[in-house]
């Protein structure tokens, strides 16, 4: 890297449950408020207290938000991972450590500058009680970093004030802890380091938000009224956020009554059952879960598909298979979500790439579910869902009205409008439906067993097939309704890069890097399944396509082959599935690798 101003990355190693989270967000927010593009990745264990946890912060004046595996500075606060952490520093980088205890000789690298600050000692002097000392040690390193990286202390002060406005005692100790670290560094080292921060004006129209929060906000704005769920990492915070938004915006002050119902189900099978029951009765209803939940919901998803009941599912993907690594990210449910359940089934899927799209796709998901009377899956992942992303402010169109789809009203039925539940009246493959409790003429019997166009039970070959064929036509027509892919073309590009979801950030950056290297690539990010014509065209218009995704078995590539007959020979996979978010380096290396492979 040439200039290191506002363009570097550092990593903080601590132990789970020692309050480092607030220190890390303080650092993030400070940089953000200095107007400098910043992203943070929280790498935490599947444990409540004591295991190692890391927080990675990347500062990028160019606005790149993907994870980078190269660290200029590492803050090593956890003895348990000390050795590992020292190795993580790039050659020529810095290591900030607690010098209360002497450093193990064997851990000394001569290509790294060691910055020792006796955090424990300082805090022992300044604070009483074990717990507070541990907490404040972690606040103190943010003070040290402030000095080393040249953070704006005014901004920090302002932030702590806001945060602890109601807790003066805490405010005081936090500020003192920050000063401890700040002062000690100022007095003992020359600051700031070559890697440092300088005010910019790049973040004023942005926010820092995680995708679970924005997804929840999207459901609130979409008018969802019934949510059912079962806790599972990394989707839990989505429902927590939805609940707190509802408490704020859906609570009727006078009556003290709620304009929403959130049910913590006994398991995922019950959760999706409740969603299907609520949607059947007319509510916009959704659940949020992760891979294991989708597996358990499979039978019910098939019922909703065949009986044509709307349902919205958020799958915040985590590393599979089975329990896998619940606190690591992956895009490993693409195939499952597209075809979940036995028999011939195919489901509409949406693939947001960041918290902003997660917000925008929520109303879209409900519109599609009610329009096409079928389950719609919104696939995010742990990285999108739980990490703080810098994104352009969310915007909303007050003109938006939900598309409730073809639902016959009591008036229409009263007016003698004929109703056959599964008949293709309009030739678009979408039948009309009615809601229970509305009108006698709307009554029909919903079932997952064989039924004919009139909604009657059948075991007749032709009647069965008629309905199945119509459903296939219906799903086909959804191609045009799902969000079109994002396509960017570069002059002189022969090959293309294809990706999905959260890999976007890495691919955009990699595209720039490769272009600089003289390898210009066109780019397409798919956003909805089944894929639309643009996807087909993009594939047809390139001889070689690199498919970037975060799973072992090239699931996106598989979907492209199955759904738009993309010839496998064209599609080169670039896969990363070890659990961390995709980085531009992986993509670039992947492209180079393939090129070499081809040349060899």
């Amino acid at each position: 890297m040439t200039s290191q101003v506002n363009d570097f990355a550092f990593k903080i190693a601590t132990a789970n449950g020692t309050g480092s989270a607030s220190a890390n967000s303080l650092i993030m927010q400070t940089i953000f408020r200095m107007g400098i593009p910043v992203t943070g990745k929280n790498l935490f264990p599947s444990n409540i207290q004591g295991l190692p946890t890391w927080y990675e912060i990347r500062v990028s004046k160019d606005g790149y938000t993907a994870r980078t595996p190269v660290f200029d500075l590492v803050v090593a606060m956890n003895a348990a991972t000390y050795e590992k952490d020292v190795h993580e520093v790039r050659s020529g980088g810095w290591l900030l450590y607690d010098s209360t205890w002497p450093l193990d000789e064997r851990l000394l690298r001569d290509d790294v500058t060691y910055i020792g600050v006796p955090f424990a000692e300082l805090c022992a002097g300044a604070f009483k009680g074990v717990r507070e000392r541990i907490l404040m040690k972690n606040i103190a390193y943010s003070g040290a970093l402030a000095a080393l990286l040249g953070m704006d202390t005014e901004v920090i002060r302002a932030l702590t004030k806001e945060k602890f406005s109601k807790k003066p005692a805490l405010l005081d100790s936090n500020d003192r802890a920050i000063d401890l670290g700040f002062k000690y560094v100022k007095d003992n080292f020359d600051c700031p380091l070559p890697i440092r921060l300088e005010r910019m004006d790049e973040t004023k129209d942005c926010i820092l938000i995680d995708g679970n929060t924005s997804s929840a906000l999207g459901c609130l704005y979409a008018g969802a009224t019934v949510a059912a769920w079962y806790p599972i990492t990394p989707s839990t915070s989505l429902m927590d956020a939805f609940k707190s938004f509802c408490q704020r915006y859906r609570h009727d002050a006078e009556t003290g009554k709620n304009r929403y119902v959130i049910l913590q189900a006994e398991d995922e099978l019950a959760a999706i059952g409740m969603v299907i029951g609520a949607s059947w009765a007319g509510a916009r209803s959704f659940t949020s879960t992760a891979g294991p939940g989708i597996s358990l919901m499979s039978e019910f998803i098939g019922l909703a598909y065949y009986a044509e009941v709307p349902a919205v599912l958020f799958d915040v993907q985590r590393t599979g298979p089975s329990t896998g690594m619940p606190t690591r990210t992956q895009q490993c449910d693409l195939m499952l979500c597209a075809y979940a359940s036995h028999g011939d089934t195919k489901h509409i899927c949406l693939y947001p790439s960041d918290p902003r799209e997660a917000f925008e796709f929520a109303p879209k998901a409900f519109d599609l579910a009610e329009r096409f009377q079928t389950p719609v899956m919104v696939l995010t992942d742990l990285d999108i869902g739980m990490n703080d992303w810098m994104i352009p402010k969310l915007s909303w169109d007050d003109g938006y009205r939900p598309d409730r789809g073809k639902v016959l009203t009591a008036e229409e039925l009263e007016a003698g409008r004929s109703f056959f539940r599964y008949m293709d009246v309009d030739g678009d493959g979408i039948p009309y439906r009615t809601l229970p409790g509305v009108h006698p003429r709307g009554a029909y019997f919903t079932r997952g067993s064989g039924h004919n166009a009139r909604g009657g039970y059948t075991e007749d070959a032709d009647e069965y097939q008629e309905v199945m064929d119509r459903i296939a036509r219906k799903t086909e027509s959804a191609r045009k309704a799902v969000p079109a892919p994002i396509v960017q073309r570069r002059p002189g590009a022969k090959a293309g890069l294809i990706t999905v979801g959260g890999c976007h950030a890495a691919c955009v950056e990699a595209g720039d890097m490769l272009a600089k290297e003289g390898i210009p690539l066109d780019y397409m990010r798919v956003r909805g399944f089944p894929f639309g014509d643009e996807v087909k065209e993009f594939i047809e218009s390139h001889e070689k396509l690199y498919v970037v995704e975060q799973n072992r078995d090239a699931q996106l590539r598989s979907l492209l082959m199955l759904d738009v007959a993309a010839p496998g020979t064209k599609l080169e996979s670039i896969l990363y599935y070890a659990g961390f978010p995709m980085s531009a380096h992986h993509v670039v290396a992947g492209v180079r690798g393939v090129k070499e492979k081809v040349l060899a």
Partner: protein, 351 residues
Amino acid sequence: MSYLAKPKVHHPSLKKNAIGLTRRDYEGAISTLCAGCGHDSITAAIIHAFWELDIQPYKVAKLSGIGCSSKTPAYFLREAHGFNSVHGRMPSIATGAGAANRDLILIGVSGDGDSLSIGLGQLCHAIRRNVNLLYILENNGVYGLTKGQFSASADPGSISKKGEANTLQAIDSVLLALSLGATFVARSFSGDKAQLVPLIEAGLTHKGFAFIDVISPCVTFNDHEGSTKSYAYTREHQIEVVQSDFIPEREEITADYPAGSVRDVRMHDGSVMRLCKVEEDYDPTDRDRAYAHIRKHKDRGEVATGLLYVSPDQAEMMEQCEAIDEPVYNQPFERLCPGTEELEKLQRRFR
């Protein structure tokens, strides 16, 4: 193929109820169950109860899982929406439907396989939530639709049609419901319409989860000698511990019973469940004594029937959720979406 057994009670079968409907208006498709199946008698009782309660059929939602029993919602209330869902999962469908539209009158029909094996967890949790639902378990001790395997309600020692004796403990759904805090627990027999109809009426009126376990013999796979769920066995061993009579709100109550022997339980809508305590020491509002009492009969090899326990005043699910009185599903969008301005304000949090 058996046609619906017509109610055997004594008024002309085309009499109109208060909203001008005859029992025919509460019927459904023709049953495809075996001739003599207990489930068909329960269907007849359900039809009769809805008719007597003057309920508009279309205000009802009929829900079920999978099984012969779960087919029956197709055989009553043709003007009501029905949802024949998947095996053992009806309670979650009902829970969701009730959450979306609390005005729906929900009736769920299930079998002992559907409820006590694959669906046991959902049944227990629907009871816990006190979902406002009448849940009828048509209990025949076997899996009828899959041709006669033992279900979890089969009694130890009961003999299968193939001649094998069941070795497993039976799950007694009524004791289970009481242990889980159910607010309305009854047991009846498909062959005892006089008892069943008022129980269904009370169950429909009960605010919260009303559980009725109905012994409903499977004539094809479990009505033989040695079965403890046969017509013969049930007739012999059924003991009505409390005889109940349902008195709709509007009818004023004429106290023509010998004092002491009678106890009235007032339902939340003002209607009354009149209990003639057949047994002296029995109190259907005391959960623990009810439990002990049922066990006592069980130990004697008897099946206690009647309205075994009721607690009319506990908060049902939607009350616990403090939901608005109207259904949430059709709230005007304006009242649901905070709009652009709020979004602006809100986002300050994220800077």
